[in-house]
């Protein structure tokens, strides 16, 4: 019997948070069958790649789908008036 997918997902999420290469807390990890999905957003493509790397190392048997989005926060937005 394989390990329940919930525990594997929890371990991947823990690794993404604790691995010094990533230290990323807000990534959603889902496992369906042998597919591993990463979702969330980060600001650097390099960070997205590292998250994929750490996830793959933690669960090498699963097929990884790195669906993390890159946040483009280059322009300042509209002002809000608080009165």
């Amino acid at each position: 019997m394989g390990e329940a997918p919930q525990y594997v997902a929890a371990r991947v999420q823990q690794a993404l948070a604790e691995d010094a290469r990533t230290n990323e807390l807000g990534i959603r990890v889902d496992i369906r069958g042998d597919q591993l999905f990463l979702r969330g957003q980060v600001s650097e493509p390099g960070q997205r790649d590292r998250l994929g790397e750490v996830a793959h190392e933690t669960a090498p048997a699963l097929h990884l789908h790195n669906e993390i989005r890159i946040l483009d926060a280059s322009a300042p937005g509209e002002d809000e008036h608080l009165d």
């Binding site: 010094a20 230290n23 807390l25 807000g26 969330g40 957003q41 980060v42 600001s43 650097e44 390099g46 960070q47 946040l71 926060a73 280059s74 322009a75 300042p76 937005g77 509209e78 002002d79 809000e80 008036h81 608080l82 009165d83």
Partner: protein, 245 residues
């Protein structure tokens, strides 16, 4: 439209700059002095809280053409180098708050900024209390002492406007989008209670990357979650009417 009588506060948190990001954020700040009178950084400026990252952040904000006020976040504490990182930021001209206050002269007015990292514990009715194991009591006590320090600072600070700058959230509303189970790790109502007691014009925080931008304390003070993934832009700008309410 912003008018001359508005105090314009630019704010962002959770920029999480790592070594590969040198110069990236600075570029986004071009022209900020035309859009805002002051810039506030709501913590989690680094990824791992290393000194190298702290220096990089300091360089990104060094000698900007407007005052910069910052608090640190939990990531900036990760390597136990929070004091060193704060030192680097201060050397770069950034005012770093650590449960105290500062007055910034900007936009022709005196802006009092109070705050620090803040801490968690949860929200009224669904929170930890100072009971039981030492570890739980320590956690709640830590937040309570922070809240008390902010309340004192808000009463002490002499300024025309008062803004609270935090990393952790004082309210649940700006956490909307985060899983309910982790709310106690995202903030504490004790922070809101302290600010409601002493009064302020605005509370800014970060930390909840999947939360929502806008909320309010039970006392009606506006709360804004300025975590970069939440605001989705280089910084948000909030305008306070100068002549008050």
């Amino acid at each position: 439209m912003s008018t001359l009588t508005d105090l314009r506060i630019a704010a962002v948190g959770d920029i999480h700059l790592g070594e590969d990001a040198r110069g990236h954020y600075r570029k986004r700040l071009e022209g900020i002095e035309e859009r805002a009178d002051v810039l506030m950084l709501a913590g989690d400026l680094t990824r791992h809280g290393t000194l190298a990252e702290g220096r990089l952040v300091a360089d990104e904000f060094r000698d900007l053409p407007l005052p910069v006020v910052a608090v640190l976040g939990n990531h900036d504490y990760h390597s136990d180098l929070q004091h060193e990182i704060a030192g680097e930021l201060r050397d770069a001209g950034v005012t770093v708050l650590d449960d105290d206050w500062a007055v910034v002269e900007c936009g022709g007015t005196k802006l009092g900024v109070v705050g620090g990292k803040g801490f968690g514990g949860g929200f009224a009715g669904k929170c930890a209390s100072e009971f039981g194991e030492r570890e739980i009591k320590d956690l709640v006590r830590h937040t309570r002492l922070i809240a008390e320090a902010w309340q004192v600072a808000l009463k002490e600070v002499q300024a025309d406007h008062r803004v609270v700058l935090s990393h952790y959230s004082p309210v649940k509303e700006t956490l909307e989008g985060e899983p309910l189970e982790i709310y106690p790790f995202l903030g504490s109502y004790l922070l809101a209670e302290a600010v409601d007691t002493a009064g302020a014009d605005l509370i800014l925080h970060g930390h909840a990357h999947k939360g929502s931008e806008k909320g309010m304390t039970p006392g009606g003070i506006r709360v804004r979650n300025v975590a970069l993934p939440v605001i989705g832009r280089a910084y948000a700008v909030y305008c306070l009417a100068m002549n008050g309410e």
